[in-house]
Symmetry: C2
Subunit: 632 residues, 2 copies
Amino acid sequence: MVKRYLSLISLEEALHLMKTSFPAPGRTETIPLLQSLGRVVAAPVHAGYSVPEVNIAAMDGIAVRSRDTAGAREQAPVTLEDAVRVNTGNVIPPGFDAVVMIEETWEQGGRFQVRRPVAPWQYVRPAGEDIRENQLVLPRGHVIRAFDIGALATYGITQVEVRSVRVGIIPTGSELVPLGVRPGPGQVVESNTIMAEVFLTAMGASCTRYSIVPDDPGLIRDTLAQAVESNDLVVISAGSSAGTRDFTATVIGSLGELIFHGIAVKPGKPAMLGRIQGRPVLGLPGYPLAAQTTLRELAGPLLESWGLPPAPRHTVQVKLSQSLTSDLGFDEFVPVSIGRIGEDYWGIPHSRGSAVQMATIKANGYVHITALVEGYEACQELDACLTTDPGSIERTLLLAGSLDPALEELADLARSRGLFLHTSNAGNMGALLALKRGSCHAAPLSLPPLSILPVCPSLVQHLPSAGLVFVHIATIGQGIASREGLTLGDLAGMRYVNTNQDSATSLIFDIVLSSRGVEPVRIDRGLHQIATPQAAAAAIRADLADATLCTSRVAGAAGLHFMPFAWEDYELAIRREMLEDPRLGALVTLINSPDFKQRLAQSGGYDTSQTGRVRNLTLPGSGIDIHREPAT
Amino acid sequence: MVKRYLSLISLEEALHLMKTSFPAPGRTETIPLLQSLGRVVAAPVHAGYSVPEVNIAAMDGIAVRSRDTAGAREQAPVTLEDAVRVNTGNVIPPGFDAVVMIEETWEQGGRFQVRRPVAPWQYVRPAGEDIRENQLVLPRGHVIRAFDIGALATYGITQVEVRSVRVGIIPTGSELVPLGVRPGPGQVVESNTIMAEVFLTAMGASCTRYSIVPDDPGLIRDTLAQAVESNDLVVISAGSSAGTRDFTATVIGSLGELIFHGIAVKPGKPAMLGRIQGRPVLGLPGYPLAAQTTLRELAGPLLESWGLPPAPRHTVQVKLSQSLTSDLGFDEFVPVSIGRIGEDYWGIPHSRGSAVQMATIKANGYVHITALVEGYEACQELDACLTTDPGSIERTLLLAGSLDPALEELADLARSRGLFLHTSNAGNMGALLALKRGSCHAAPLSLPPLSILPVCPSLVQHLPSAGLVFVHIATIGQGIASREGLTLGDLAGMRYVNTNQDSATSLIFDIVLSSRGVEPVRIDRGLHQIATPQAAAAAIRADLADATLCTSRVAGAAGLHFMPFAWEDYELAIRREMLEDPRLGALVTLINSPDFKQRLAQSGGYDTSQTGRVRNLTLPGSGIDIHREPAT
């Protein structure tokens, strides 16, 4: 392989270089108060006048001079010559220093009487009670909150000087088309700089996004030189091709100096940092997840070191649902789905492909495997950063097992009831492992009709010792999907994808094939990240494979032919004690709802006559017994 | 007192009524992708095309048909008739299903050779690897994050249908002037609806703020009727006068129905809720802190129940630095300053005056005393909600004691070093109590020259048993502040404010006064919330009092005369073990810095010749001994 980077530097060193090479530019801007939410005060804000500016009444009553009331008693009321009627909020006239509640006064010949002496200051909001003229309201560095803006308005402050950072963002790459243009084959929509703009603007930066620059060193050089003139930081996004990146590094070197090129971070290795006219130029890798890491782990901390407020970061300690290996010396970031099961938070890792943006969309957090760690075993604990609000984590259910589009319908219904379903494609075996270790709330399983269960030893040996409850989702037809309508006998020599090789149907299918002497070329999903039947179907459509076993719905969605093979029970397995969790109670109710059944019926390919049926599975001694009474 | 509310309902009941009386309006709007951060998806978003749309190369090399490479070995290379050179990102031509790295190919007579068989799919990013045409990208209810927007751009999605809520906000009150106009006596800047707009817009609502409506039932009625027509929620802010509020309730009743008026919440009691044409009308109280509570505790949850994302809420368990009483049956919210001392978080309550907005500006959180609790003792634990990012709490130092503007200079310097100083005016006695129970990081004390210390028994009996370190902040002159230049002999019968009655200087002052037979009228700060010498000086300027004891700087800032009385040592007392906390080490270094001394010198009234001097105070047996060696 061609060596692209002279040497990789660590994330820690990269951060240190960024922060020490570039002192805060110290730019400020003065903005209207109403636009100042989340901005950082750059110059102390002082009150222009006192609030209240004069003494005002805090009660409806009469304004008095306290010394005039001295000696007043029930038996010896004092008549006040010049008390003044005031309402709450009215100005107390000069010379008066207290208010008597109207209920505690008596009128006598057009004048007010009091029967108790009054202390100075009674029921008076003194001038400057809230703030005094010239008093400091907001110190430098204060991050402005919504309710601060209310106070500032009260104090008559109409604009604020806040910290400002100008960022120029340059997309480069001849394969790029702008958002709004449909990409042709081999083209992609330029999205990294859109992401950078949204991310950095949310931190309080003022971003200028340049037009797409094709892979031409002269044009890149011109744009970069121009961007450096008018910005405090320039972010330049390479296209996804290697050539482009090399242009960027060379151009940075020709205009200034390249500080580093290549960091020991996954995803994010091709990130680079340069300095032109004393200003930082950060090179984003082309792969979207690598660009995300670079923005979050390098650009964010740089702006923070310049005094912009940090992006809020919630962390929670999670147990990993499966082991995660990582190269020693590399800081690795892996998207995860986090949910609380009992007292523990669990994290299910997503795909680590740096081009698969759906992984971060589906995830609600990520874990950071530091350079000093080679990875984590399943069930080990580590900190996860949340990418959603913590409240939604509490309403997240983790489902691991064999996935079918029926779960998407279920997830959509669950959303409308405030529950977030995160699914993980683990196959039947993974489902049972997850049930056993308690790393999922529930496990969808594709089972042959239950009478066949005992012939499936791999399934039985992994059943958790605790009792299980099976909730029937649907009965689903499995069959052969292909471009040309292949049947069992046609599969010899064909490229056949095993997406779900541990399901009983798949095992039976193998037995049937081999009994007929048919030998396809097997493509194992583990090797090729063909995570789901949908992906396998898409690959067949794209002529990377010829056949797979899936449902008619999956085949139909990919425009493939479908030859029925067998019916499967699609069941949701739940540890019995987990049913006490009200979230799972709600999920079971949902499966049993007319809404859900109707949706499955509409999408076709499902037999819903048993949907919602609940059965207990117990393991008394050696045998398996499925009771047909409802679960408790 | 006039009864304003027929009956108060609980916060819980008010929330229940809000949520059950008003189902989600179900409004949506379609907005450009780049403006969608933080918005909630209203209709599922599907991919318009697959990404990648065709199979593309994941490596520089040659595209091959995998079956053509069958049988290739080192000794028997296979020559490929029509392999195609591809670079990373290039389209794989139809019929080809794998890529061989360029390093593993050999050229032979213009054609490529391979020496190993290739599996289908090798180094190919299959069509649909990231997402497939028509696949669900974002489900309903998803809150859009910055990195989601990158993915959506990649998938060619240019706009999103999101949940939308229209809120009309009406300010009422004849005493109000709009932001930008300087209020005259008895007028205030209309700020509650500005606060409401900023707060609700940040939640994702589309707000329309109406012009100020004077206290005229007809005009209020017209504006309200118009606002209800075009909004899903109307927020009407009463002016601060009682009369205005009453108009609002009557007008709501005449246009529809009043659901409640008055809630058992402090601050926030005058809040009201009505229904006009099926739409909610929420009445905000006029006092700003009461308006804040109503927005946060009622309007926020209503929008949340309508499907807008909740405002992020961080909580932390704090110990209270002082007891907080609360009326049973009332939900009370109290702003607090939170800091971590050792392993514990402590919360220092701020003023509860519902007009004092500076309290929420200064606070970094608040506590909620629920209706079922009568209050909390000092040192009791309860949950506090943060109003700043959690990271800043870790960098917050809590100082309780006698306050002087010197601390503001120190706080400003500390800010530039990433430390947040929160000060609490507790007097000398409060300072010693806080030191003893460990509820502050350090305690500023106003001390007479140290030789007089033994004559001050109240001070000695409260010293914590652990050793203290005294860091000298400055020597400060105390004297009599007044409008007319009063001297000791003039104070008989004058209104004299005791702001710091537990300081030794104040005690000596009292002794001197009484030895001369001078008897002023004492105004105790405890009764009147005169929290600081600055407030006392402002009150003298406003003719609510005649004299106080303060520094020349405080007197000067208020435009008062100053008659010197004595010099005091202004010292920062720190428990010796606390010096191991690097944050306190940094603070002591800062006090000793030329920067700080220069700032004090510039502001005048300070003798800085001893500033930064560190002394150990130990209590060997009964006596007090102050060693002049430096602290360890």
